[in-house]
Amino acid sequence: MSLQVDQLSWGHPVPGGSWRQLFRNFNFQSPSGQFTVVIGSNGSGKSTFLNLLAGTLRCSSGSIRLNDQPLQQLSDHRRARRIGRVMQNPLEGTCPGLTIAENLRLAEGRRRSAISWRGLTGVHPSRADRRRYRELLQQLGLPLADRIDTLVGQLSGGQRQTISLVMATMGQPQMLLLDEHTAALDPKAEATVMALTDRLVRQLGTTTLMVTHSLDQALRFGDRLVMLHEGRLLGDWSAQQRQHLTPDDLRKMYGSANVTQNS
C-alpha cells in the first residue's frame, strides 16, 4: 500500500473555549498510483486531511506511512521532498517574483538539498535547464514554453496554476496533493488545468489525492471517489461504482448548499 493512514486523530479549539475533534481514529489507504478524488461539504476535513498528509498540520495521534516510511518522523523539508502540492490559491502555489524557469528549477531540485555546498555548484537555471523546461512545456502543449523568462507574478491565475501543477509533478514526488486547485479559475482555465492534471497524473503514475467541490470533476476524474463528512468517510466508490452515481445522488448525500456543479 502506497499511502497508509492509521488511527489518525486531530482536533482544534473553537471560539468559546471548547474543542472540536475533527478526526478520531481515522483510517485511509491508497494503493500505489491511485488517483483519489475527495469531496465533502465545507468543514468536512478535506483540506485538513491534505494538510495533515503534507505535514503543515501535525496530527495528535496515529500514523501516516508513505511507501512504508513513517512521514511524521521526517522534518518539514524532508517530507516535502516526497510530496508534490498544488494549492487552491494561484498566488500561493508559485514564487511570483521568480521567472517560470526559476520556479521549475526550484521544483526540480526538490530531491536535492539546495541549502548546502552542493547547491553552490553551478549557475541555475542554466541554458541547458531552460531548453529542457521549454521542451517539457512544449510536450505538454503549453503556450508558456515561449515565455520561460517571464516572471510568474505576471501570469494569469490559470497560467500560474498550470505552472504550479507542472512544478508539483517535477522531482519525482511519491504523492501528489491537489487542494481545490481549480476553485479560483474560470471555466476555460479550469478545463485546461484539469485536462493537464489528468494527463500528468496518468503519465507519472503517482498516488494522488485531489480535493474538489466540483461534482462534475468528482464524477469524471480519478480511479476512486471518497466523500468526507465531519472527519469520517461517508462514501467510498471505485471508478466502476461511480458510473452509477449522478450529481443528484451526491448532492443528496451531503445535503448541499456548499456543493457547486461546474457543468
Binding site: A54, T56, S75, D76, H77, R78, A80, I83, R85, M87, P90, L91, E92, G93, T94, C95, P96, G97, L98, T99, E102, R105, L106, A107, G109, R110, R111, R112, A114, I115, S116, R118, G119, L120, G122, V123, H124, P143, D146, R147, D149, T150, L151, G153, Q154, L155, S156, G157, G158, Q159, R160, Q161, M167, G171, A184, L185, D186, K188, A189, T192
Partner: protein
C-alpha cells in the same frame, strides 16, 4: 572640490556593504533585521581594537566579518528555533550587542591613527582619497560579482524563494531555518565589514556608530532601485552600490550648501523619506518594476486566451 566628491564616493563605497547586507535581508529574505544596528558598530569596534593593537588590516577585517556573522546567526536562531518575531529577535540581539561591543572596545570611542595598507593601491594623483577610491572600487566590484554568482545558484534560488513565498519554499523542500540562518549571518557579516571600513575611513570607531544603520541601508537600497529600476539580481546588487554612493553624494552636497554637522541626522531622515516617497510616485508612461508587480495582489484569473494574447511583459532582458 574634487576631493569632496571623491570623499563622498569613498564613503559611499565604504557604506555599500551595509546596503548589500540590507538588500540581502530585506529584499532577498524579506526579513526585517534590526541586528544591523548592532553588527555595524560591532564590526567597527572590533576592527578598531585589533588595528590599534597591531593586527594586520585583513585579519582585523576578517575578525569583524566573523563576529558580524555570529551576531546574525544569533538573531536567526532566536527567530527560527524559539519562534520569536523577526523584529524582536533583531532588537534583542542589538541590545545585547551594545554591551558586547563596549566589552570588545574597552571604551566607547577608539581612534585609529595609524593604518598601514597591505596592498599599495594606486592614488591616481589624488592622495589617500584616490587610494581609498581604487581599493574600495575593487573590493565592492568583487563583492557584487560574488553575491550575484551565489544568488544565481540553486542555493541562491532557494534563498530567494524563502523571501518570495515561504509557503512554496517549504512545499519545495527548502530548509527554511537553515537558509534564513545562513542568509542573515551573511548579511550581518557584510554589515560588520561596512562598520570596519567606515571606522577605518573616518579614523575612529564609536559604540553608537551603528544607530540608524538599518534605515540608512534601506534608504541606499531604495535610492539605487529608484534610479536603475533593476530587473535582474546582478543589476539590483549594482544598483544598491550606486544607491550608497548617491546617498553619500547627497549628504556631501547638503554639507557643501552650509548645513551644520549637527543637523546631519535630520537631513538623513528627510533624504530617506524623499527616496522612499519617490518609490510610490508612479510616473506616467513608466512601467512598474518587477517588484511592484510581484507584490501586487493578483488580478482575477484571466482565461488562457486572454493572457496569451498579451505581449510578453516582464521578459528579463
Amino acid at each position: 572640490m574634487l576631493s569632496l566628491w571623491l570623499g563622498a564616493y569613498d564613503q559611499g563605497l565604504a557604506y555599500a556593504s551595509l546596503a548589500l547586507g540590507t538588500y540581502l535581508t530585506l529584499r532577498v529574505l524579506n526579513f526585517a533585521d534590526l541586528t544591523v544596528d548592532g553588527s555595524f558598530a560591532l564590526g567597527g569596534g572590533t576592527a578598531a581594537v585589533l588595528i590599534t593593537n597591531g593586527v594586520p588590516i585583513p585579519l582585523a577585517m576578517l575578525a569583524a566579518i566573523v563576529l558580524g556573522g555570529l551576531a546574525g546567526t544569533v538573531t536567526a536562531l532566536i527567530h527560527t528555533r524559539l519562534g520569536v518575531n523577526d523584529l524582536f529577535a533583531g532588537i534583542l540581539t542589538t541590545t545585547g550587542l551594545y554591551t558586547i561591543t563596549l566589552r570588545v572596545m574597552g571604551r566607547s570611542n577608539i581612534p585609529i591613527t595609524d593604518i598601514t595598507p597591505v596592498v599599495n593601491w594606486p592614488t591616481l594623483g589624488q592622495g589617500d582619497d584616490g587610494r581609498w577610491g581604487v581599493a574600495l572600487t575593487c573590493v565592492m566590484l568583487g563583492m557584487v560579482c560574488l553575491l550575484a554568482l551565489i544568488l544565481a545558484t540553486d542555493f541562491g534560488l532557494a534563498l530567494r524563494s524563502i523571501g518570495n513565498n515561504p509557503i512554496m519554499a517549504r512545499a519545495n523542500a527548502v530548509n527554511q531555518a537553515l537558509g534564513l540562518t545562513i542568509g542573515i549571518a551573511a548579511a550581518n557579516a557584510l554589515v560588520a565589514m561596512a562598520g570596519a571600513l567606515v571606522a577605518m575611513y573616518q579614523g575612529f570607531a564609536d559604540v553608537t556608530m551603528g544607530i540608524g544603520s538599518l534605515i540608512l541601508g534601506l534608504g541606499m537600497v531604495i535610492i539605487g532601485e529608484s534610479v536603475l529600476r533593476p530587473r535582474s539580481v546582478p543589476v539590483a546588487l549594482f544598483a544598491v552600490v550606486i544607491g550608497a554612493i548617491l546617498f553619500r553624494l547627497m549628504i556631501a552636497i547638503a554639507l557643501q550648501l552650509g548645513l551644520e554637522p549637527v543637523d546631519l541626522k535630520l537631513t538623513t531622515a528627510v533624504l530617506l523619506l524623499a527616496a522612499m516617497s519617490l518609490g510610490h510616485i508612479k510616473l506616467p508612461g513608466v512601467n512598474a518594476t518587477p517588484q511592484d508587480v510581484a507584490s501586487e495582489p493578483a488580478a482575477l484569473p484571466a482565461s488562457e486566451g486572454e493572457a496569451d494574447g498579451e505581449p510578453n511583459r516582464g521578459e528579463r532582458p
